[in-house]
């Protein structure tokens, strides 16, 4: 595995605020990594330290093992797609895309060839002579993309590149971007605050909160094994519940939740922990009319039912007084039609009870 970018204890302070706080991050060559986090958490600042528009207050930035912490942007083999696209308004599509090659003094013939293939790659053939104002939002987005990839950067940085597009176009661009990345094999660092976008596109996701990376992992790990309450809540929904450990066995533990509900878990317990937090995804709560096989079954009353299109959101209350939210598929011929006021049996699989830290 080749390392492309390495951030070592990188900190960036602006007067008053610490935008990025002691971040360590290793980005592999050819991967699609997403920086995901709420507004103001430092995503853009982190990206700008890789592109060279910000200099870290502390720490080092390595590009292919070379220290580039203090290199200006025009001397890094890194290109960026800006959120506003930042197309040059006085240049045509062709000129915009050729700009980077012109700056690098690439020969005429090679330049034409590379521009042509970049234009073909983003399906903009026939629009070479247009000015940016004569393009739609999606087309401008493609020009911005072509302008960056034509330079064959080692790393392509994308700062919320799809946020200005409508939902439909956004989806098709997500697919296109992902395919393009696979085809070119360029390392993509993608910034977004949209968790769904992050989950569908990325090889790995770095969830950022308040200038720190809370968790780094692939979509599956981030979604199914969140490490902190922040990650559990930011990506999807979660029931975060206090629990105390009542028994430890080889690969299992029993925890007692509020209201006397005891559950068996299979995840490794934090060493020596007595009081723990568990995260349970609402869609992992299994609802049945009758009690089934195995353990982790408990009875509850449906207090509330919220129609959400493909799913129904239920608010459950156990006999011990614990409130839990659950999601059930909203099929026309539902296995177990349930309604507010019903008494139901709930089941949780061992693996779906995840221990999380408070942040």
């Amino acid at each position: 595995m080749d390392v492309m970018v390495e951030l070592k204890r990188v900190t960036k302070r602006f007067s008053g605020t610490t935008a990025v706080n002691e971040v360590d991050l290793t980005i592999r060559a050819g991967e699609f990594i997403t920086l995901l986090g709420p507004s103001g958490c430092g995503k853009t600042t982190l990206l700008r330290m890789i592109s060279g528009f910000e200099t870290p207050s502390e720490g080092t930035v390595l590009l292919e093992g070379k220290d580039v912490t203090y290199e200006p942007p025009y001397r890094r083999d890194v290109n960026q797609v800006f959120q506003s696209y930042a197309l040059f308004p006085h240049m045509t599509v062709q000129e915009n895309i050729a700009f980077g090659l012109k700056m690098k003094k690439v020969g005429r013939a090679e330049m034409d060839e590379r521009v042509r293939s970049a234009i073909a790659m983003v399906s903009l053939a026939g629009m070479e002579a247009r000015k940016p104002t004569q393009l739609s939002g999606g087309q401008r987005q493609r020009v911005a993309l072509a302008r960056a990839i034509v330079c064959r950067p080692k790393v392509l940085l994308l700062d919320e590149p799809l946020s200005a597009l409508d939902a439909k176009l956004r989806h098709s661009m997500q697919v296109e971007l992902k395919q393009l990345q696979k085809k070119l094999g360029i390392t993509f660092v993608f910034v977004t605050h949209d968790q769904e976008e992050a989950l569908t596109m990325s090889d790995r996701i770095a969830v950022i909160n308040k200038g720190k990376i809370e968790q780094l992992g692939d979509a599956d790990a981030i979604y199914h094994r969140p490490k902190t309450t922040f990650v559990a809540n930011f990506i999807g929904q979660a029931n975060i519940l206090h629990a105390s450990v009542v028994a430890r066995e080889a690969r299992q533990a029993r925890v007692e939740l509020e209201g006397g509900l005891t559950l068996t878990t299979s995840e490794e317990l934090p060493e020596g922990a007595e009081r723990v937090l568990v995260s349970i995804r609402p869609e992992k709560v299994w609802i049945e009319k009758e009690r089934g096989e195995g353990d982790n079954w408990f009875e509850a009353t449906i207090e509330d039912e919220l129609f959400q299109g493909p799913t129904d959101q239920l608010r459950l209350k156990t006999d011990g007084g614990l409130t839990l939210s659950a999601l059930v598929a909203n099929e026309s011929s539902r296995r177990t039609p349930v309604h507010a006021g019903d008494r139901v049996w709930c089941h949780l699989h061992h693996d779906d009870i995840v221990f999380v830290h408070e942040d």
Binding site: F82, P89, A148
Partner: protein, 281 residues
Amino acid sequence: MRSRTPSGMRLVNLLLSGWTGLVFLFLYLPIVLLVVYSFNASRLAIVWEGFTFRWYEQLWHEFTAHLADERRSALIESMGNSVIIAAATTGLSVLLGTAGGWLLHRYRFPALRTISTLIFIPMIIPEIIMGISLLIFFKTVEMELGFATVIISHVTFCFPFVLVAVQARLAGLDPSLEEAAMDLGATPLKAFWHVMVPYLLPAIISGALMSFTLSMDELIVTYFTRGPKSETLPIKVYGMAKVGLNPLLNTISTVFIVGTAMLVICAELLKGTARRSREPG
């Protein structure tokens, strides 16, 4: 659908259009008369005696004779002076106005706020006061009156026009634009040249045309700051008019009006393009 304007409104509209018409008549009738009389065969400027190109021919002859060094014409010389002064003023105003507009946009510290207000004083201050104060200044620093002093004076009230135009254009600038250029390998200097200058060009040109016209027909400030060899056309024309109305004056004025109008139209057209290309890019 039929117009349902109340009759009171209609009366107001009628009065308003009548008033506007009168104002335009008052504004443009003298100019129209002047242009018409430039084709008047009579030596007396205000009696119509038939159509002629004679005065234009005479002006042309004076022009060619002067250029060929056959007969020196003070009128043509003043014209040349005006063009030299206007060109120099325009060049300096463009440099000063563009650099100033850029700096004010780039570095927004409080002191610059005050400065940016001060810059506009020469635009609004009465010209006679400008003229006197500049004269006092040049006398104090013992500068000889001539081309240099006239050009400096003109620049003081011309460059704010460039600066305002540049500032207005920069206000709509996407801050990422310059970064995008650097991201693509341009050094800061190249980014300025390849991206900022073309972006600002419509503003620079419209400011330059404005400066040129302003400098060309400035009279009062020039009157105070000129030297014996830097007589400009407006001053010469003013001198001629004092002696008596001369048909040649009408001719020159017409040439002047046409030239100025063309420059102003160019400036307006460019402002139009500037506005259009400022829409999201």
